[in-house]
Amino acid sequence: MIRKNYRLGFLVLMVFAFLALNAQQRFPKPEFESGYEQPNTTTPEPRTAGMEVFDVIVLFGVMALATWLILKKRSRRGVLWLSVFTLLYFGFYRNGCICPIGSIQNVTLALFDPGYKISITVLLFFLLPLVFALFYGRTFCAAACPLGAIQDLVVIRPISVSSWVRKTLSFIPHIYIGLAILFAATGTDFIICRYDPFVGIFRTDGPYLMIGLGIAFLVLGMFFARPYCRVFCPYSVLLGFMSHFSKKHITITPSECINCKLCANSCPFDAIEAPIDEKVRTESTVRKNLRNYVIFGLLVPVWIFAGGFAVSKAHVFLSKAHPDVYLSELLIAQPELREDTENLDIQAFLESGKSMDQLVEEASVIRSKFRTGGWYLGGYLGLVLGIMLMNQFVLRKRKDYIPHKRDCFSCGRCMDYCPVGEQSGDRKSGIVKAKQ
């Protein structure tokens, strides 16, 4: 039966490989002589519909396999090799596109612009990792994300940064996803794709700046592991939120924790929470923390309003990111630029047949959207800040070392280092292997 399934799987793979080999562009690129530098596009060449479905199947397969390797097999080595496959397939072969991280923008634009449609494959790329995270934690980050994979492979000498630094930096992804959604919803830009630092490396032909940024991230990642995932990745906000509710998250030890701390030292992401000394939980501490928790809880609406007010006030500045808003202001301030035949943006506008009044009207509508969106973005950031501050006063009960469900990438290093083996009856004889 298993052999039959293997054969069926092999057959399916061969069919898709054949389709891939025979895929052709509808219109080949015009001929360009050597010496001409072609612009880099933000998206690679289009795929056939069949191959897009194949990509979804591969993504699902990789995440399913990663989940099995992490939760059942408990194999760090398996996760490592799977992430190498991901790097090769979704990174270098698929050129890092489409990826679930960027799909946030496609989904957002589809929700806000009735004229923009996304395919079911894009939607699945967006949803599948979230569904897996909801049940099994961030197994997508472990082995199915090419951006995570390339950073994971360069971790050489990870350092542990201070808790306050980590917490401060963890606010950045919330700003990033908020801006990305605001920009996508207003049709301004897909900033996640534009500033994906590894796409240039995957395609080996990106702008120098982006390749430089990618290299900077990798060099930084040698010491501060997975910097993009931890400090920038907007999708990590969603994954972390879903993972927070996961029932079958990765566990460090297969049985009982012996508090050896090897796992905490092994985690390059500072994502393992240490046991909490019960002595800290004095009555006065509990009372004091509770009081602060309530005070900061009451302040949350204030943060939300203050954030919304501040960002909505910045809508004039933010809306300038939209090309139409910028162009309308530019042409009002400097009408002589209409004569600049070298300026492609201005010439494109003039040749579109649109009048200046129309442009200004459209810019005004966009700016209004930014004002409304600014309230939501600022309110969201205020809420996140408020919750982060409240969490400072939560006294948790924890006897063992456990992975932080939101921050843990499920990479499996900790379980590889855990000296506790599988239990078979006598719990006290759980130590079956030990590592340095």
């Binding site: 052709q24 509808r26 001929e31 360009f32 530098e37 630094v165 501060f224 400090v231």
Partner: protein, 320 residues
């Protein structure tokens, strides 16, 4: 290993990355962009080695009072189909006939039986005296007829809108069609990004169709079987440039092809296997980024080019 100074460096690097991204984003505004690094510089291709130019322009016939749409040469006469007008002039430029027709033609074919004039999605048949004979029904939606050529009892029609060649009999009955697809990789199918899609029939009644997206000339049987092809894609004078060239072709008595390209306008002659024989008119003879002239050629090898940008028929003769 906790290290405060390392933490500080990490924060510093991350801050630097954010600053770089913000600066880069704000630098890419319409008034802050420098020179376009992707501007295609093709001035060097406009200059053609004079030793390659085997023709010279000897005279021209202005087309007055109407917008020309298509040109054909038959019976030592030039047949010009234009907006509301069918005009016939001799090779010396003397008007032989001028009659009214309806609409703006896109192509014309004259043979010993009739004059066939193609419009966007239909064909009208006239006698050689200019009498309207029949109008053929449109063969479907999205039609953009761009060229006509007759071979014996058939009239071939290039339909750029549907990327196909239609085969009619001379009475207007649709006998077949093909899209240039074959099992070999050569038979990709017609790639027609714009309304530039020409076909000709040579003196041996062989049908040649331009596959503009491939910069190819393809030889088909009447039924649409690919028999042979040649391609010449290049910005250099030896090939065809851009998205969809050659935009127009004509065939000479010996099977050579006169080709006309748009954007970087140039007229050249290739032998039947695709080797460049000579240049008729280099780019500097035309407007920059101009339209491709419709070309026809007489039995003496004189090339007549309908220059749409200047509304003139330009005559190019071989250098002595």
């Amino acid at each position: 290993m906790k290290n405060k100074s390392l933490s500080f460096i990490v924060v510093l690097i991350i801050a630097a990355i954010i600053v770089v991204i913000v600066l880069d984003y704000s630098a890419k505004r319409p008034d802050r962009l420098g020179d376009n690094p992707y501007e295609y510089q093709f001035d060097e291709y406009k200059e053609v080695d004079t030793s390659l130019i085997g023709y010279r322009e000897t005279k021209n016939f202005p087309v007055r009072d109407y917008k020309p749409g298509a040109l054909d040469l038959y019976d030592n006469l030039l047949w010009i189909a234009g907006e509301q007008v069918l005009q016939v002039i001799s090779l010396a430029g003397v008007q032989q006939m001028k009659t009214e027709i309806q609409g703006l033609p896109t192509c014309i074919e004259v043979n010993d039986q009739a004059v066939f004039i193609g419009f966007e999605d239909h064909i009208k048949k006239y006698s050689r005296e200019g009498t309207f004979l029949a109008e053929w029904d449109s063969p479907g939606s999205k039609c953009v007829f761009t060229s006509l050529a007759s071979a014996g009892e058939f009239l071939f029609v290039a339909d750029a809108g549907n990327r196909r060649v239609l085969r009619y009999n001379l009475e207007g009955e649709l006998m077949g069609q093909f899209e240039g697809k074959a099992e070999s990789s050569a038979g990709h199918g017609f790639i027609v990004p714009s309304a530039s899609f020409d076909l000709v029939v040579n003196s041996y009644d062989e049908l040649w169709v331009v596959n503009p997206g491939r910069h190819a000339l393809e030889n088909y049987t009447n039924e649409g079987q690919l028999r042979g092809f040649w391609t010449a894609g290049s910005m250099n004078i030896e090939g065809f440039s851009g998205c969809c060239n050659p935009a127009h072709i004509a065939v000479m008595e010996d099977g050579s092809f006169v080709t006309s390209e748009k954007h970087m306008v140039r007229i050249k002659i290739y032998d039947s296997s695709g080797e460049l024989k000579t240049v008729v008119a280099p780019p500097r003879k035309f407007l920059e980024e101009g339209q491709a002239p419709e070309v026809v050629v007489d039995e003496n090898g004189v090339v007549y080019a309908l220059d749409f940008d200047r509304n003139v028929i330009r005559i190019f003769e071989k250098n002595r």
